[in-house]
């Protein structure tokens, strides 16, 4: 797989300060149930961060809050030194955040390539959609990504006809195509086999540097391959942070998350 090509096309502006995202005491209250409870997190530019935690810990809710799908009951989300807590979703995305959903969210009636073209379009204001032609750079990027995600031969197929795993790949491709500074990947490997999983890990590692990436996943072997700093959440709150090895060794994490001490590798 040729992720270099993709990576080389992803341009970002030179960092002004190193801090990209800061969540500051964010609480999300669903009728009394606090899915996030005073949660804080900072992400530096160009870094990779892994977020784990038990089912229901609030990881997806965290992404929802950053992207504006769910609104913080209290606390703030700061992105590139600006408060984005209350911006409309599309505004947040335009500032440079893109998210892959836990259940793949592709546009089922559009072809694979059209899905990517829409994601790749730089100027997302409505009037610019009347402008003629497609930038050569966008075209090239879409072609690259199509190769990378292995769907080149299905480019014209409606996205709705893809199998689950293929949809996952397409959505990853779409997120990458946006060239957002911050990529939120919610369980990118769910439904993938071991081979695809390590391909994904390779891809993500290549993205880092140009992008800041937050990965959520439950597959410890996948996280191992990513080899990044890990934040552990529990019941909407921060639990631990550290290297993969440190987290694995941690008794608290074992208690709430990993279970019976031994690691969970189904790997061949």
């Amino acid at each position: 797989m040729s992720a270099q090509a993709t990576a080389s096309h992803i341009g970002t502006t030179a960092p002004a300060s190193n801090l990209l995202l800061a969540m500051d005491g964010v609480t999300v209250d669903f009728d009394g149930f606090k899915a996030l409870n005073g949660f804080s997190l900072t992400l530096d530019r160009g870094t990779l961060r892994v977020l784990i935690g038990p089912n229901g810990a609030g990881k997806s809710t965290l992404c929802d809050t950053i992207i504006g799908r769910v609104r913080a009951t209290s606390g703030r989300v700061i992105f590139k030194d600006q408060d984005i807590t209350h911006l409309p979703e599309h505004e947040i995305v335009r500032r440079g955040i893109c998210r892959k959903f836990q259940t793949p969210g592709v546009l089922p009636g559009l072809s694979v390539v059209d899905n990517l073209m829409i994601a790749a379009k730089r100027d997302r204001r409505w009037w610019s959609s009347f402008r003629h032609g497609v930038a050569a750079e966008e075209k090239a990027r879409v072609a690259d990504i199509l190769e990378t995600i292995g769907l080149a031969d299905r480019a014209a197929a409606p996205a709705g006809q893809l199998a689950h795993g293929e949809k996952q790949w397409l959505e990853i491709g779409m997120v990458v195509a946006t060239r957002a500074d911050l990529l939120l990947l919610d369980e990118p490997t769910a439904g993938m086999g071991p081979a695809e999983t390590s391909q994904t890990a390779t891809l993500i590692r290549r993205l880092v540097g140009q992008h800041t990436v937050l990965v959520i996943d439950h597959d410890m072997s996948f996280l191992e391959q990513l080899d990044a700093r890990v934040t552990v959440m529990h019941q909407g709150q921060f639990l631990k942070e550290g290297s993969v090895a440190a987290i694995r060794a941690d008794a608290d994490v074992a208690a709430v998350y990993l279970g019976r001490a031994k690691e969970n590798t189904h790997h061949v």
Binding site: P54, N55, H218, H266, V268
Partner: protein, 240 residues
Amino acid sequence: MSEPLLTLTGAATSYGQSQVLWDIDMAVPAGGAVALIGRNGVGKTTLLKTIIGAQRLTAGRMTFQGRDVSALGPHQRARAGIGYVPQGRHIFPHLTVRENLETGLSALAGRGGGAMKAGVPDHIFDLFPKLAQIINRKGGVLSGGEQQQLAIGRALAGQPSLLLLDEPTEGIQPSVVQQIEDALRRIRADLGVTVLIVEQYLDFAWSFADSYRVMQRGRIIRAGSTREETAAEVAHLVNI
């Protein structure tokens, strides 16, 4: 082994114009556990959908408990004793956990007895204690792991003799993966349910199932016993 619980002979299906499954022959023995493995997009989900009746057979036939069920609709097959845990879980988002479980009772219709009136059997909460804690929450707001447990619980509420599981550990935290794996073993052992499971991870597949089928491009290209071959011997077929 005696009469198989489920057989497929020359089964084929397609989505509209495009055929997805070709010439599937398979027999699942009663009380057994079969693992279905293969890369993304080879048709594993489609095969399960065909068995539950959500996809129509375009060729071949299917029997269940010795009866030809090829012409039956999904709800009739569910009532005959096939339980289904789909990929992506498909929880009813606006129903509570209890109500989701109760929908599973529908599969008991026509099987007599007061089972349907008796409500959701307790052993489901023994298997998945978490469900009892969130019994009144809406399905749509549950986390992935909670939903997966609920989906299995819902299938069990219909007291199936065959359980179809489509990647049941996808997106589940490790400790719960273990719980689910344990639960599945108990389902086999204590409830005597036959299992057909789609699983991408071979070591669980090997520790759980008695036999395996490898799929490629809509066909079963290899069948064998997990007792006679190691996962490593089969892995290359899956990882191409």
